[in-house]
Point group: C2
Chain length 345, copies 2
């Protein structure tokens, strides 16, 4: 033991060595206790725990990571055109859920954004250096190639939403867009609406596709005919919803209900309906999707479909941590959605 060890600088952090010394055991035993390993006597365990507590010991993660090759941190990567994502409470809910679940497992969440091709490349490069144990990938336009690239460099990845190609060998957690759209449409059918139309999301996006599927499925279940003039494609924005509503009114002047595949599009649609003097819900019933704050503020308040965003983030994290731990986990998880009845339908 050198002089340096016996006279530590007052600001020096306690090390495992010093905890072990105080507890009167070896570094190895102290390490075993602190990692919760078995095969340690009760006496030793207690001594180490007390010493660690008294010295306010915290493990040096860098040192641990160096030997275990695990960082105990995962990345939350937003691979998306920022503007689109950052207005979206959906995204925030997922982040919150992921953070909560990671915190429960004492895992750090590293937040990253890669909105351009160059940034994506840089991130993949960074991450392939094993600086995080895995990646939670949030991307609205279900672009599988980032996830695939990450898997290619052996970084476990879990996708938000579903892979665009349903057969892609990727892990994902999605909310049940099909079922959500189906119950939304079924709600309109139950009201006795006759001409039910839909404003779809972009059909090159998985949620856009799935919500249209649900709509079609509900019509089909009720033996109602589907025709293309019943739907108009939007882009998940207010403006797009308004444009689609205008188109629908032209194509189906008798329409008495509309299912918008997002709340913002529903808000745009409601505005157009008001301009055309159609009362909601008396003349035209409206159902949205997402349950964003604007849905409650709308006049009348919007009936919509809520997804468990928080739980989405939590589940993604659970799946990822499972993969990292080498457990067998379900490749595709689908979480239930729920109808929130308000005044618009």
């Amino acid at each position: 033991m050198s002089v340096r060890d016996t006279v530590p600088r007052p600001t020096a952090r306690p090390t495992l060595e010093s905890v072990a010394a105080r507890a009167g055991v070896s570094r190895a035993t102290a390490s075993r206790v602190l990692r919760g390993s078995s095969n340690v006597s009760a006496a030793a365990r207690e001594a180490v725990l007390r010493a660690a507590d008294e010295m306010a010991y915290t493990v040096n993660r860098a040192a641990r990571a160096l030997v275990t090759r695990r960082t105990d941190s995962i990345a939350f990567l937003v691979a998306e055109n920022e503007e689109r994502m950052f207005g979206d409470p959906y995204f925030l809910g997922v982040l919150r859920g992921a953070q909560a679940e990671a915190a429960d497992a004492a895992i750090q969440l590293v937040f990253a954004i890669a909105s351009t091709e160059a940034e994506t490349r840089q991130f993949v490069q960074f991450v392939s250096g094993r600086h995080v144990d895995g990646v939670l990938l949030v991307s609205l336009h279900g672009d599988d190639h980032v996830a695939q690239e990450l898997e290619d460099v052996d970084v476990p990845t879990v996708l938000n939403g579903r892979p665009f190609r349903p057969d892609a060998p990727l892990f994902s957690v999605d909310s049940d867009n099909v079922e959500g759209a189906r119950i939304a449409t079924a709600c309109l059918l139950e009201r006795g609406n006759r001409t039910i139309t839909t404003i779809t999301g972009p059909l090159d996006m998985a949620p856009g596709q799935d919500r249209l599927s649900g709509f079609q499925q509900a019509l089909s279940d009720a033996r109602r005919p589907f025709r293309t003039s019943l739907c108009a494609e939007g882009d998940f924005t207010i403006r797009g919803g308004a444009a689609a509503m205008t188109a629908l009114l032209a194509a189906e002047p008798d329409l008495d209900a509309v299912f918008a595949a997002s709340d913002l599009m529903a808000v745009g649609a409601m505005r157009v309906l008001a301009e055309h003097g159609r009362r909601i819900p008396d003349d035209v019933a409206v159902v949205g999707f997402d349950d964003v704050r604007e849905a409650q503020l709308a006049a009348p308040a919007l009936t919509t479909v809520r997804q468990p965003v928080d739980e989405l983030g939590r589940t993604m994290t659970r799946v990822l941590l499972g993969r990292i731990a080498g457990e067998v986990v379900q490749q595709r998880t689908v979480l239930p959605t729920e109808l929130v009845r308000r005044a618009s339908a």
Copy 2:
């Protein structure tokens, strides 16, 4: 050189050792090149750079952190009741800005939430173990004690907003709430409004205080009397804004303008005004604060004050990184706000 070194497993990451070997220099020289140190010959530099590139070398941050005692990561801590913060695009903007600036400096952002006292304690404990180099602290209710605790354990911290006690020895970046409120009120004065009222934020929060100060200052500049019946305290929510508006109408039936210290409160106020048959802006002009998405959606569209949220995050990060680097940085930074004129005033 052992057999292990000459026959590496194919999946093994390249180490500095192997890069140096390929470049025909020592590990020390390779390290110098990769850290951008001077005192390296051009030949050596080029050889190392090429070798690193060919082997797709990435530095092992754990190993580096172990010796430098720097992690090259900072925490983004949300110390706030989650519900309040997570509906707020303000928060998201700050996060985005911070991420962008951190990424530019090759610093990782660790995202953390501490909404309860226990979680806060846990975070302080975690962070006092030097697992991040500093903390960006986002807390709406300007509660200084978390920042103070972090500074007490020698973790550089930068606060979002201003310290609640203006003389607290803390670093902070704020937007100019006083000036924002002043120009909002000045706008109403310019319109010729006679009885200008305000719905304040919670007066135990710095932004609440500052926006009220700006309001008073504008009145005082225009030699208009201020009386307490001109203001009602809200809580930054729609419901609170509505309640405050009701109170104001009772106290000042002749009011012809209202400055709400947040857009959501403005929305609540507009609703109450509509219920009372007051037309906006003809009977009562309304100005908000924040420029959230709902401000554009409101009918009529809300005139409001925009803060540079993105820049707020960027500046906080810049200040923090400056502190970490040991530079002398300004203790308190205030960013300008801007009036966005729409239809409501």
